[in-house]
Symmetry: D2
């Protein structure tokens, strides 16, 4: 069974570095908005996880790579002592990219040796698996953050000219699925890995409802834009309307109206909008306004999960109408691991599904993703219910 | 039936002015924080409601009191035309308090005349009743806003020396109520008035749960403070912890530690904390952190409503663990009335019950109040579940 | 000589209250921007000066009116002790207007008695005279702050319908005065009162220069506006250009373009612009940009003072090209009085002359007024040199 | 004479790149505060100057390196057209460091060829010389910005372990120079290069004054700190005091009190404070407060310039008591070159001298440097007068 874990570890860690292959050293450093982290930080932070929660407590022979890295790569650190300077991630030119890769190599060598021998304890195995799932979450963030970094550069650089990731997300013709009222169960129930926020499979009562099998397309979203959707307050939440007016939002993120034609920045550069693809990079406010305009609504996360086996999903993280709150009987775990999810359960919305940027094997029908209502930089989309 | 409406109208409108009786003219004007409105504005805005939605559309003989008042008393106004200056409510010294009372008198005279004769149309009746409930909501806001205005003055003025409103909210000894799992119904179902956000009585499935019959007392909350509750991040949501640190929060609003003793500002001036009263003026973050510290949780709004008939409630607006979201099949009404509730259904939490400041007859077990997580200036409290 | 002081005291104190006569109680309270103080505060603060610096230290029988007023009316106060709440002036509804007038009456009665008997000490006399000049400065601020309070109300209320203060500031035809190069003396030299910042008469060398005898008119300023002055960055300081774009400034304060015609708010309400009057309510940025556009410049304060006897001045505070800095050998006095001027000597510009709102007898050719570059709410104008 | 210009061009351009030799690619990219520019930007912007003002207008065969670079390296650009995204300099990972060096190489090759042949026109020569002086200003900024970038990294990286730049700035024992009153001349008068803000040699009258021949040392500044200088408002300008309290300033920039001992970050890493060196990295507020505390004052820029031949200067940019204002008869040049200095002449203070980071040959006794009062990141120091 360790062999399996070793294979996973090696594969997932390599994939993270593969994503960064097309980057120049400079691309690893910047942080154009607070939500985006420098790729260098993702590389270091995921490594810090294994160093901090596996090697330092469990591997007696392990020696810390650099005691200062805790200040740099801990996502939760508070000012510790007089010599530490709090700074934003995007201001840190050191450690260098080369040093971060050395850090990864050093930790990987020790982890591989460690995985070869020690693991009998289930809780230790669980933490390693958590670390790998954590790393996969950062793989998706690498894609979204790299897209933001390059997409907000006036040169509109191409991420990887030899690749066409992510594939254009075509949508099949949409049908309406009708689900009868009744008691259903949601939440994770299997033997595999899940995050703590999915745990506690529980019953919910649902009224009968309809849900669309496909996502809203760019063509449909353009109809909303062309109908004045961004200038009619009636479709919007009050704070969504403030957001539209303050930020002067007129279209999804990365869309540019050039000489009257809508283009969007993709990882292959500026392209024409593909009308048949699922709309992408919309905020909850936009998803919700679109739904209101179309006379429909967003599904709740329970409605989504119950219907999920009959839906086409996996191209866009789909905004639901559910706030991110604890499931019944949810308890935070003790210690730092317990900070993973629970402390974020206020003022965020749940997204379900997965996106073109989600690592293979990382998605589940019970997966609860969550972001703040104005966020657009993930590969987010819209599914209607009604 | 009009006689009944006339009586209600007269009684409720008078009550609003009664609340303001102890104020000096200057107290009507200020707005120390954006959430608090000047009493003058409440008086005018509630009047503007009847002028705008009843008299102007339905009373052909009615002539607008002052066409500029729309800019001053419309809570939703956008800049209209070149001559209008957008300004904060607390910067408006005019119209004067006397003019606002004249405005009330003028509108009341026309309303009384109107109520004497015209009302056969049910939708019109509904709008009048909505206006009265709207006015009652502002009566509670008058109490909370007056308390903030006086309580943030370094002279700590007494609101009304001849009165002892609101009564100290003593709590009976608390018991735990156990509710079995099952399908329950929540939402308004009767013939009387309710807000649109309560409509759509619907089934919910609840796991079995326990809920306390009484509210958390000052004594219990002091134990949390004394145990270092405000300095241990583990009890708090991440954004709650930011709030505590940024705002340097160390106790509920209006509490002052004077020479080692906890006092609090009340409408009768600075007083010692009454240990047996229900804790008041806490934010959702504080309610939630207290619950985490005590090993319990806040009830959901469905749990609260299902248990409500066996609870002692009405002294504090009780933070629930539920986000403010639409009930199934909720639809916004057309027109300005439709803006009443729906557009606020994101990033707020539901409070249930009522408070010592809620007008008599204005509370219901299905009533859904809502505020943002950091808000403390309402008469808010804590009930535990688990 | 005390009789003289008593007469001055009585006259100046009455004049302050006279200015407030047309106000409603509500007008005394608000503070629409941080630079503007509520009239109530001016009334209290000028009174606090005499209580704090004369009565409390020198009048043994004097009993403080209210020990809390120090927190309310001290313009320099820091949080003192645990019970004091720091707040903005515009949030204070108490003390009431009536209480502030009682405070004035109480202090005046004691001051009148005190002036009848005690004053032999020159330093004490100097402080009283300083207090009276301080009060006159606040008289001018009362006019400017009342204008702002009423002028930013959407009802555009008239200050005093029975009066036409301030008189329209007509300008005579302008001539150019030529001053030869040489050593001149500036600074106060007489026996009367002056502020510490005027002291230290000293030599300056001036190149020969030309200065206009009259102020820039509204007609001339309109030519600048109509020539696109507010949209051509070449006329502006870099931070002035930022100010124009951030604040969307297109004209002097109080100007409104209504249906294509320029109107301005005056203390008698909205009026047409008088083309022959001196332009008013311009910032240093605007004064400087106008001068650059016209191929001229603003005079330095030394150039202004040297030429002053031949200039028509007194209608507008005239922005000079001089930064507010200490004269040679300037020393701050010890104690609180020493804070009067010196600590403001950075990042402000000097204005010379006086305005229609300056109390009679309060102006001098050596008077150094000073404000920040973006300020428009004083009665400021432009004189050119070249 | 072209040979001379060619030699200067080659030498100065090389020196810029020499300063960057010790940097890693990542160090070129970040911008921790708005005042600091990424080294990459300095390299590109100085190159853009020659491309924009020399090659594009004067070299007919020249083809622009990349038309997008104008958006990236123009320090004054406004949004041009719909496709350009405004962004902060520190968010631009592209063009890469290698591309910027290619840009430099390309422009240098064309400039060298151009300098070999064309230059007979004096105005063209002047612009080239201006470009070289502009580049030298950015060389000093490279040192100060690199120091900020590395000095605000929690790893406190060493800039160049093989070097000890800048040398410790020892001070000789200080004497007091007395200058008699009289008319003096200041401003540039020679045949060489000077900036437009130094032009217009003109007479000034100075009272007699004393000025110290040496700069304030760390030992003297420590006495100010130890005497509570940062906690006594009497020494400070009002806005300096706000700055101290808001930013929690307790010492010059880069000073760290570690276990009770004062250390400071230098380009060779954290070092003990050298008591005999001139204090460095102080703001105007600090310089001014120190002077007030010591019973002295800062010299004016005229006093400094008149005494300069007898002063030891060149180690620190010395804050003067003079605001940055135009000299008599100053005129902005037409076109973009005219934006060089004049538009910054408000709300900044003049610094005189030069620093250890100033390129050899770039300093003059008439040189007028200028920064905002809170700025500490330049190599600034204090000289007293009195």
């Amino acid at each position: 069974m360790n062999a399996d874990l070793l294979e996973q570890y090696t594969r997932i860690r390599k994939q993270t570095e593969y994503i960064c292959t097309p980057l120049g050293n400079e691309d690893y450093v910047v942080q154009p908005i607070v939500d985006v982290s420098p790729p260098k930080w993702h590389l270091g932070h995921t490594t810090w996880f294994f160093e901090t929660f596996i090697l330092k407590p469990y591997d007696k022979e392990y020696r810390e790579f650099d005691s200062q890295y805790n200040f740099v790569f801990n996502s939760y650190y508070e000012t510790v002592g007089a010599r530490v300077i709090r700074t934003d991630r995007g201001n840190l030119s050191r450690p260098s990219v080369a040093e971060v890769y050395q850090y990864r190599k050093y930790v990987d060598q020790h982890m591989v040796k460690f995985l070869d021998s020690h693991i009998t304890d289930q809780s230790l195995r669980d933490t390693i698996v958590l670390g790998l799932n954590h790393e996969q979450q950062h793989q998706e963030l690498l894609y979204t953050d790299i897209k933001y970094i390059l997409g907000h550069n006036p040169l509109f650089p191409i991420y990887n000219p030899d690749d066409d990731f992510p594939k254009s997300a075509g949508t099949s013709s949409s049908a309406t699925l009708r689900i009868p009222a009744g008691i259903y169960e949601i939440g994770y129930a299997g033997d595999g890995f899940c995050f703590d926020n999915e745990c506690g499979r529980h019953k919910v009562y649902l009224d009968d409802y309809a849900i669309y099998t496909s996502l809203v397309t760019n063509a449909e979203y353009l109809a909303f834009i062309n109908d004045g959707g961004y200038s009619d307050f009636r479709h919007w939440h009050a704070e969504g309307w403030d957001w539209v007016k303050t930020k002067k939002v007129i279209a999804p993120l990365y869309w540019h109206n050039i000489d009257g034609a809508w283009m969007h920045y993709t990882l292959q550069g500026l392209k024409q909008i593909d009308l048949h693809s699922a709309v992408c990079h919309v905020s909850f406010y936009e998803a919700s306004a679109f739904a209101a305009w179309s006379g429909k609504r967003l599904p709740t996360e329970a409605e989504w999960e119950v219907a999920s086996s009959a839906l086409s999903w996996g191209q866009r993280w789909e905004w639901t109408g559910s706030a991110y709150l604890p499931y019944p009987r949810f308890k935070r775990a003790a210690g730092a691991i317990g900070e993973y999810n629970g402390k974020f359960m206020v003022n965020q919305m749940v997204l379900r599904g997965a996106s073109v940027a989600t690592p293979a094997g990382h998605s589940r029908a019970t997966y609860r993703n969550f972001f703040h209502a104005p966020h657009q930089w993930q590969f987010t989309g819209i599914r209607l219910a009604g």
